[in-house]
């Protein structure tokens, strides 16, 4: 099963490599990993997407908690949460396709943020599924490149992951 694990970690040099190293050393899957400082500059928030059986996920969360720099973590599979990923897609355009791509971006609530006579860059946020659907809806021949941030998430309601 797919799990999104969100980690509050000391903003120290090497913190990212401790997490990434743990996954490679113990043979765990890692689908995506995002990291950035939080409102408290001494802490970073890391979101990682992994897959595994319940036993594996239990070990992953325990091993992550065992890292000295990890302050707290939450597995979003266990709670109601919101998940978003940012994507930017650069597509080739011609006079005949420009209008269609614009309409498609509108339908998916994307925005065109760069325009040249022969290309658009479409910016889009949403769940990973939605971004997949948009990419699938485009003609593969028109895609120049796709960049995705990997998902990040936050729990619903009042409670949050903080000190």
């Amino acid at each position: 099963m797919r799990h999104i694990i969100s980690i509050l970690i000391e903003n120290e040099s090497g913190a990212l490599s401790r997490v990434a190293g743990l996954f490679s050393a113990r043979g765990y899957n890692i689908e995506s990993l995002t990291v950035a400082p939080t409102e408290d500059p001494s802490l970073s928030r890391m979101t990682l997407v992994t897959r595994g059986s319940d036993d594996i996920i239990e070990q992953i969360t325990k091993q992550l908690n065992k890292l000295i720099d990890v302050v707290k973590l939450i597995d979003f599979a266990e709670s109601v949460h919101i998940e978003r990923e940012l994507m930017m897609v650069k597509v080739k355009t011609t006079d005949s396709t420009r209008e269609e791509i614009r309409r498609m971006a509108d339908i998916f609530r994307g925005r065109i943020i760069d325009v040249t006579p022969t290309s658009y860059v479409v910016e889009m946020t949403g769940t990973s599924d939605k971004l997949d659907a948009f990419v699938a809806a485009l003609d593969a021949d028109h895609i120049i490149e796709v960049v995705r941030s990997g998902p990040t998430g936050i729990s619903r309601g009042e409670k949050g992951l903080h000190l």
Partner: protein
């Protein structure tokens, strides 16, 4: 008080109460060595190879419970220490390793003797630090000791760039009495509800087993474990790392379990209905084939490390906490409980265990005209009255020492169980002897293992650490040969050395006493003579039966009930019969 970085390191070690530091100088730590030169409180032990420094510090730590401290230079000094760091990591030994690093401005430029020590050691340390600011140096060292010695202990590396120890830069010094880390709060007491559940299950058992590991020794919980075992009247087995936590000469002790455990310990584990695992981690050398491990048992697991619980074997009642505290909580709960152990069932269980014991799985050919390694360990046990500190290397000799030296006290059996590091024994013995100068210290080794850190014989002379080296010389890497015999149709691929040094001359060249022992009747007198030489390191080169194997054995992929036993116990080895 204003101190420079180098002085801060040394003063921090003093304030931490460090007695010995095991190290080797080099460019990146010259400032540090200059500060060490100017004081006498922290004694520096100069080893001959950085691996020796880590093993000696490790031996010191295992024998005392205090953290071992190591100082190495950058680059090759640091990488040479890695094997010893990994050895300590796998056995959860508290250790602080200070490594020199190239100066901050040149880090990352492939400078002379530069390696990314923090990166290299990341997977084999509990934690590591790169110090980038001299004002944080003392606090970082305090944190290193705090992390290394609390919770599940382990090695911590503090990598210090050369410019941080610059003698010209002085900063105010104050060694923190305590540190708190918001991200690190190991559990201490066990969950009350879990303890009640565990006690109820334990007292309902008909075929109970207590299975205890190195965590009991690390957690100083031998007394509590022994009391609990006596109150319950249950059989107990120890892992290789747990030997000595419970007195081996006590009748409730059924021997070590696992790959080379006793028949009775492994069979009892297999048939048991309730297992109390204490400070043990269900290592693959203990469990054998996981699918066949303890098929009838409900398992209670006490461990300080939540990640150890249900890692390989799913347990029914986990209790996270310090073993000493949790065992105390359990003792109290047992005394308060209305239930008592089931006497009738227990009697039947002990009868069954006695039948397994009657197999006498550790018997060997006592009439042989060749020296049997088991006999040597038995004689060593008698000559030292079972009271020596025994270190070992890795292989057959290690298993013989574990099987035939009956450890009654914790911290007496010192070996690399997790990583299985050949070369560990001699430097570890030096560390032990420094910690306990009046105790008998023996290193049980083999002619292959001893050569991996033999240069430390020179350290033993310099610091007058008279240890006795019991070299079970079978002219083979015995354990490798044994596996090749069992699994590779006796194709002994590179498991012997065509050239073996004259160990007697070698010992003498290093300034020690060498003895060659070739006949069974000479073993006892040689050992007595060696231990009578209180002030000398003695190298006993004992020529043993090269065909001898370690039994019982659970071969890879088999369960506890599927042991290979010596054919016709007490008469001859199966090989001789064949």
């Amino acid at each position: 008080m204003e101190l420079n970085g180098a002085q801060i390191v040394v003063q921090s070690l003093k304030d931490e109460g460090v007695e010995y530091i095991f190290g080797y100088p080099g460019g990146a730590v010259l400032h540090l060595y200059d500060a060490i030169f100017q004081q006498d409180d922290v004694k520096h032990i100069l080893v001959r190879h950085e691996q020796g420094a880590t093993h000696a510090a490790d031996g010191y730590a295992r024998a005392t419970g205090k953290p071992g401290v190591v100082l190495v230079t950058s680059g090759p000094g640091a990488t040479n220490a890695v094997t010893g760091i990994a050895t300590a990591y796998l056995d959860s030994i508290p250790m602080v390793v200070i490594s020199g690093q190239v100066s901050l401005p040149v880090i990352g430029s492939d400078a002379f003797q530069e390696v990314d020590m923090v990166g290299i050691t990341r997977p084999c340390v509990k934690h590591n630090f790169l110090v980038k600011d001299v004002t944080k140096l003392a606090e970082t060292i305090k944190k290193a000791f705090h992390v290394a010695t609390t919770g599940r202990p382990g090695p911590v590396v503090v990598d210090i760039p050369k410019d941080i120890t610059d003698p010209r830069i002085k900063v105010p010094y104050k060694y923190p009495k305590k540190v708190t880390m918001r991200s690190y709060n190991p559990a201490v007491t066990g969950h009350k509800g879990q303890i009640k559940k565990a006690v109820d299950l334990l007292l309902s058992a008909e075929k109970p087993m207590i299975y205890s590991g190195g965590g009991v020794i690390l957690g100083e919980a031998s007394k509590e474990l022994t009391e609990l075992t006596h109150i319950l009247g249950y059989p107990i087995t120890n892992t290789l790392m747990g030997l000595g936590a419970y007195p081996a000469t006590d009748n409730q002790f059924v021997g070590m379990l696992g790959m080379h455990g006793t028949y009775e310990a492994n069979m009892a584990m297999h048939e048991s209905d309730v297992i109390l695992a204490v400070g043990a981690r269900f290592d693959d050398r203990v469990t054998g084939k996981l699918a066949e491990f303890c098929p009838y048992a409900k398992i209670i697991h006490i461990d300080i490390d939540p990640a150890s619980i249900s890692k390989t074997v799913k347990v029914d009642i986990p209790i996270v906490g310090e073993v000493k505290v949790v065992l105390d909580q359990m003792l109290e709960a047992i005394k308060e409980s209305k239930n008592k152990p089931n006497k009738k069932a227990l009697e039947a269980w002990w009868n069954q265990i006695d039948k397994w014991r009657a197999v006498k799985c550790l018997e060997y050919d006592r009439e042989s005209r060749l020296i049997k390694p088991q006999y040597v360990i038995e004689q060593l046990y008698e000559v030292t009255r079972g009271d020596a500190f025994i270190t070992s290397d890795v292989g057959q000799h290690q298993m013989y020492a574990a099987q035939y030296y009956h450890f009654d006290k914790p911290r007496r059996w010192i070996n690399s169980g997790g990583l299985g590091t050949m070369g560990f024994g001699l430097p570890a013995a030096i560390g032990v002897k420094l910690a306990h100068p009046d105790a008998d210290v023996a290193c049980v080794t083999g002619e292959a293992s001893i050569q991996m850190c033999i240069q430390e014989l020179s350290t033993a002379l310099q610091y007058n650490t008279p240890v006795k080296i019991v070299n079970l010389n079978n002219r083979y890497m015995g354990m490798v040969r044994q596996w090749q015999e069992f699994s590779y149709e006796s194709r002994y691929s590179h498991s012997y050395m065509d050239t073996i040094p004259d160990f007697v001359k070698l010992a003498e060249a290093y300034g020690h006493v060498g003895m060659l022992v070739e006949k069974p009747e000479d073993v006892r007198p040689a050992l007595e003579q060696a231990f009578a030489l209180k002030d000398r390191t003695v190298f006993l080169d004992i020529i043993t039966d090269r065909t001898e194997n370690v039994y019982p054995m659970i071969e890879a992929g088999k369960g506890h009930h599927d042991m290979k036993l010596r054919v016709a116990p007490g008469t001859a080895t199966d090989r001789e019969l064949a």
